[in-house]
Subunit: 474 residues, 2 copies
């Protein structure tokens, strides 16, 4: 097999153990974890330092070879694997840059390299009595560089914000190989444009993030948790407003799912049980955290729920009586992806609308998809506190197999859901990013002036369109 | 007096009551409130709508007349008044755009026009049981558009972040007069670059902010407050770390001042009294907020301070026994600007360093300025929780008058302070911005790659350099 001269030169620079170029060895890097997207790469480069990343970029820039930066390859929208442009890109996988450079306890910061795994960062912070608050399903394998490049959200956003709000400084290799050392651990720095925001959520199109200074928080010591049945999303929203007023920043999660979602979990994931005795249409998970030992979170939760019950806002509730009990109820929530994958074909959406409009959105999106397929199931699992609704029109495998034109139907259903979100000032991608899957949505929904501004910035930073071409910016 | 043809056309577009062009009437718009900076303007335009702002910008763009956007004119670094380039700019003052477009209680958001005064926004939020958390000395006259354009900080940053963290959406008039409607009230939206960050802290150089969607928070119901005397900044830092661990997000302020600062307030501002009986070298103000009525903040504060006292971390403390008492102690802190102005010539700095390095910074900056003027006073007032130190080398009027070359001395002192901050990975402008005063500092301290990136973005957005030329970007 003939090696491309660029591969040879990369081997010269990085050593042969840091360049993967045989097809079978590249498989894990060019196909996504769900097996939905696969592409071709010229090779995979595995740099161990910022200087090596810079050398790779300079080499590729000279030869006009596109570059695809890659973290843990856990994208839900094909964002981390090649999609087939020519020439095939060099995948720059950051996994070997996994050094924690420093922890500053009094400053509540940590400087980490891009390849650090999220769960490892969480664990190290906890050893220092601190919290890195981003938490999501893939935290055992996703990397901080990918989190930053997609502005990852997850379950802690209500209290702590998205990844963006937890980044103080960045180190980035720019499109010409220049290293920008923006590693400042400051809470306040108003000396010009805050350049780090050009790289956060840019999905590797503006530069390669190689390191970051993360903002850490005090580690909560005590949690209170309730599983609550409500009549409707409207009632869930009223309960949310009451919880925010009563608990303020103690409120760490307010999640919602419908009966269809809960039933899929109970049917398809062994060991999961219904937290409540009866059957209810809508379910809410409420969590609050306290920083002082001996805080009375569960009593405060109890008091609020009693009041809400008296108002007719809730139908039933279970407050966790132990950490094990809380964990068991969270497990139901964390099992939705597994359940849905086993149960059928879900056309997962990642919409967000203003929190106040979630009930309206669910009604309108349901009506819209049932105009297309009257008998379609609707599964809803939402980070209600953030207005982020995974609205999932759902087919059994049998229904799906019986469709005449499944892909066209899926496309029109997805469009109906996102149209409903946009009509309520919402978005088609709250936390997953754009990747490959949402490129057409972006063209449909973003304003021309927004696309023009993005293009102008991209042109200024990567004039030869070498960094992740065709992604994010058309 | 002959009118410039552009002024005539602005009158045609806006009406004569919305264009100020006589010199004496322009005075309030071209000189800053402290009387330190004054410049010339062609005229002052007072638009009442986004469309009018767009019309002004289009007209100026056609004639290549520079534009200086202006809010409440409360800049501390000459950022809001002209500085003397040719041709003199059209000042676009947003004061007439002061409409609150909507309040969405369940979404915790408010849509406001740029000219809304900060204190009015705070008051309106409070009427809905909500909080807009940015709070600063000039809140009675500064406007939200200026807050956004400078990423204003103030006393609430420790818990709520800077202005940037409290903005969800923006409406901006771009340099060619195009209106960008980025008014989305979403907590999560990952559909490309987050363009609003290009206008926040840009000081009017990238576009004119005309409206915003603000993030609101639950309104705290109960405050606990303590005035604490400590031996040193080092001990203050240890106390901060303990407060963060014990109180988490309940901690809303952690401010510090030295004896020199306290004494200036007590001497020069009538009605202020020492919160503690004795004389101490360093003082800390600690505040925590609770969202539930009947919370035990003061008891929790008492408990923590007792523990810290037992460890020898503090010398004396007073816990506020009433809202009036809390207010009285805050007044001491809020009187520092008035006191310092009356007492002499303070070379105010706006440095920030990592929180952990504040003690080291104060030591090094003190040594550095005393190498220049051995007998100089050092006044320190700091948002310690944010690492933001207003380190103020201080002359009596008599000392100042006796200097041979006061401006050159001041310049070398300022440089020594900022050099000390930079040597500890800090910054010369934490919350005031760049304005006119810090332009030379920026050239000294920003990395060439950062200046190049800023220039590239500016070039992409305002190729003819019409928006606030010479500011922010050289």
């Amino acid at each position: 097999m003939n090696m491309h001269p660029v591969v040879e030169r990369l081997i010269d620079v990085l050593g042969s153990s840091a360049v993967v170029w045989r097809s079978r060895e590249m498989a894990a890097y060019v196909e996504d974890w769900r097996g939905r997207h696969a592409g071709k790469a010229m090779c995979v480069a595995l740099p161990s330092s910022t200087e090596e990343v810079s050398a790779i970029v300079k080499l590729c820039a000279r030869e006009q070879i596109p570059i695809l930066p890659q973290g843990g390859n856990t994208s839900l929208c094909g964002g981390a694997v090649p999609s087939g442009g020519e020439p095939a890109p060099v995948v720059v996988n950051l996994a070997r840059m996994r050094h924690v450079r420093s922890v500053d306890v009094d400053n509540h910061t940590m400087e980490v390299e891009a390849g650090c795994v999220l769960a490892d960062i969480q664990a190290l912070a906890a050893q220092h009595g601190l919290l890195y608050p981003i938490s999501l399903g893939s935290e055992g394998s996703c990397q901080i560089g990918g989190n930053i490049s997609t502005n990852a959200g997850g379950t802690g956003v209500l209290r702590y914000g998205n990844t963006r709000e937890n980044i103080l400084g960045l180190e980035v290799v720019l499109a010409d190989g220049t290293i920008w050392d923006g590693l400042r651990g400051l809470r306040k720095d108003n000396t010009g444009l805050d350049l780090k925001h050009l790289f956060i959520a840019a999905e590797g199109t503006m530069g390669i993030v190689t390191a970051a200074i993360l903002k850490l928080h005090p580690l909560p010591r005590a949690y209170a948790f309730a599983w609550v049945a409500v009549r409707s999303p409207h009632d869930a929203l009223q309960l949310l407003t009451q919880c925010r007023a009563a608990f303020g920043p103690r409120l760490t999660a307010f999640e919602m799912m419908n009966a269809a979602q809960l039933n899929l979990v109970l049917e398809h994931v062994p060991g999961r049980r219904n937290p409540l005795a009866g059957n209810h249409n809508w379910h809410v998970l409420v969590e609050l955290a306290d920083d002082q030992e001996g805080a009375e979170g569960s009593q405060d939760m109890q008091r609020l729920l009693e009041k809400a019950y008296a108002q007719g806002l809730l139908l039933d509730a279970a407050i966790a009586v132990s950490e094990a009990h809380r964990h068991e109820m969270w497990q139901v929530r964390h099992s939705v992806s597994e359940a849905n994958k086993k149960a059928g074909v879900g056309l997962t959406s990642d919409t967000a609308v203003p929190v106040s409009r979630v009930p309206d959105f669910i009604d309108k999106a349901t009506a819209a998809v049932r105009e297309i397929v009257p008998e379609i199931g609707v599964v809803v699992v939402a980070h209600l506190g953030d207005g982020n609704v995974h609205f999932i029109p759902f087919f059994s495998f049998k229904q799906w197999a019986s469709l005449d034109a499944p892909e066209a139907t899926a496309e029109s259903i997805r469009r109906a859901v996102n149209d409903a979100a946009y009509a309520l000032d919402g978005t088609f991608s709250a936390e997953h990013g754009v990747g490959q899957v949402y490129v057409s949505q972006r063209a449909r929904y973003k304003l021309p002036v927004e696309l023009a501004m993005m293009r102008a910035v991209k042109q200024a930073f990567d004039p030869h369109d070498l960094l992740n071409p065709g992604r994010l910016l058309p």
